[in-house]
């Protein structure tokens, strides 16, 4: 994402957008982390 943004925007704008992106993702991960991970069949191969 960081390199994607830097290829399309001025560096200072790309940095700001990247920070916003990571903060939003962190927040969503924190918000939804209460959901239990059911595990996965490929871990049992």
């Amino acid at each position: 994402m960081y390199s994607f943004l830097h290829n399309r925007f001025r560096p200072e704008i790309a940095d700001a957008l990247a920070v916003i992106w990571y903060v939003v993702l962190f927040f969503l991960m924190y918000l939804f982390s209460y959901r239990e991970d059911p595990g996965f069949v490929y871990l049992n191969l």
Partner: protein
């Protein structure tokens, strides 16, 4: 079952990253190997024993002297027996045993190593370099099935690189986000009720199809998230690992789908089964059927996965016939119509893939009932 968001797994991944950089440069390879071994021993001691013994056997066969064809064949047969034994036991309804952690991945890595050594394509290396390849911590549990030459090249050239480290960190972060936000929350909470209307996936009903479509999407999101984490953490340790997915659900036909889904496994099967068999038999359908059968059996030794492999092989054969026929027809001059055709192909390919579980489960149930009936007629008193 092991879970990827467990705290102890995250701690092990952190230890793996530190072990790759903190020790003096000449000791790093030893630390990478030892931490990988400790990790596997911590979660599954039996798996560690199997991996160590098969790895020592493979190294000895390939390096003691020039590998001989008969020795290679015996070793690979032994691997096949170990693999089959656990897979059959895993699928058995009488006595279920837990398959050693990561067995399917590391046996395929070792087979690749033996075959490449036999062909003489690998650069000279030592025992610890080979072991560090097998015990690279992020890839032990869920792949990808990466290749030894690329690993060896990275191992010898790796230097601390902030850019590579930050790219790896970002990749792993996106993997965790995909797992928590999309797989566990969006798919597991919102979409599940819409897709999964019945526990039964056999048959030709809309419910069975939606259930199967949900399974494929869930499988893709979770597996690609795990691959992102493995590839990201490996990059943080200084290794570039082969990609496992390339937007498979955007494929325009089933052949393309299998080039974009679980790439490390399909490229392994292509290199070590499809190409040799196609070269010997000159019959692409035989090679395709065998390859899809191996991919099916890799997932599980059962009638269901045999049918699963045959379903995809048949799909590939039919699609290749259609493609050669389509090439003879005039292509669309209109850009819009070309886009429409591409979109229709993408939807059809997804429908074919999603219909796989209902069709093969239905076939399996019917064949089993037929066999039971035949047994009853011929053998019951």
């Amino acid at each position: 079952m092991m879970k990827f968001l467990d705290a102890d797994l995250q701690i092990w991944l952190l230890i793996g990253i530190f072990s790759a950089w903190l020790p003096p440069a000449r000791l790093q390879v030893y630390f990478i190997t030892l931490i990988g071994m400790a990790f596997l021993g911590y979660f599954d001691l039996f798996s560690l024993q199997i991996l160590c013994s098969t790895a020592m056997l493979a190294y000895w066969i390939c390096n003691y002297r020039q590998p001989h064809g008969k020795q290679v064949a015996i070793t690979l047969s032994l691997f096949a027996v170990i693999f089959s034994y656990f897979k059959i036991q895993q699928g058995s309804e009488i006595e279920k045993i837990v398959i050693p952690l990561g067995l399917s991945y590391y046996l395929f890595r070792q087979t690749h190593y033996i075959l490449e050594m036999y062909k003489g394509t690998l650069r000279p290396h030592n025992f610890i370099e080979y072991f560090s390849y097998l015990f690279l911590l992020p890839t032990i549990v869920v792949g990808p099935i990466h290749r030894f030459p690329a690993f060896l090249s990275d191992l010898r050239r790796r230097r601390w690189d902030w850019a590579r480290f930050s790219l790896g960190l970002e990749r792993a972060f996106h993997g965790y986000a995909k797992l928590i936000i999309i797989a566990n929350f969006a798919l597991g909470y919102f979409l599940r009720d819409y897709f999964v209307q019945t526990a039964d996936i056999a048959g030709f009903s809309k419910a069975a199809f939606l259930n199967s479509a949900y399974m494929w999407i869930d499988l893709y999101i979770r597996f690609s998230a795990y691959s992102d984490i493995a590839i990201g953490v490996s990059a943080m340790m200084g290794f570039t690992i082969i990609e496992n997915f390339n937007n498979p659900f955007m494929s325009e036909n089933i052949s393309e789908f299998w080039k974009r889904w679980h790439i490390s496994l399909t490229s392994w099967c292509s290199d070590y089964f499809y190409k040799p068999v196609a070269a010997i038999t000159r019959r692409p359908f035989v090679a395709t059927s065998g390859t899809m059968l191996i991919i099916g059996l890799w997932h599980g030794f059962s009638l269901h996965y045999i049918l699963w492999g045959m379903y995809h092989a048949l799909g590939i054969a039919l699609q290749q016939r259609w493609s050669s026929f389509r090439q003879k027809l005039a292509s669309w001059d209109n850009h819009f119509l070309t886009k429409i055709e591409s979109g229709a192909n993408i939807v059809l390919t997804f429908c074919f893939v999603a219909a796989c579980f209902p069709v093969t489960t239905w076939l399996q149930q019917n064949i089993e009932e037929l066999l039971k009936g035949a047994y009853h007629v011929f053998f019951s008193a």
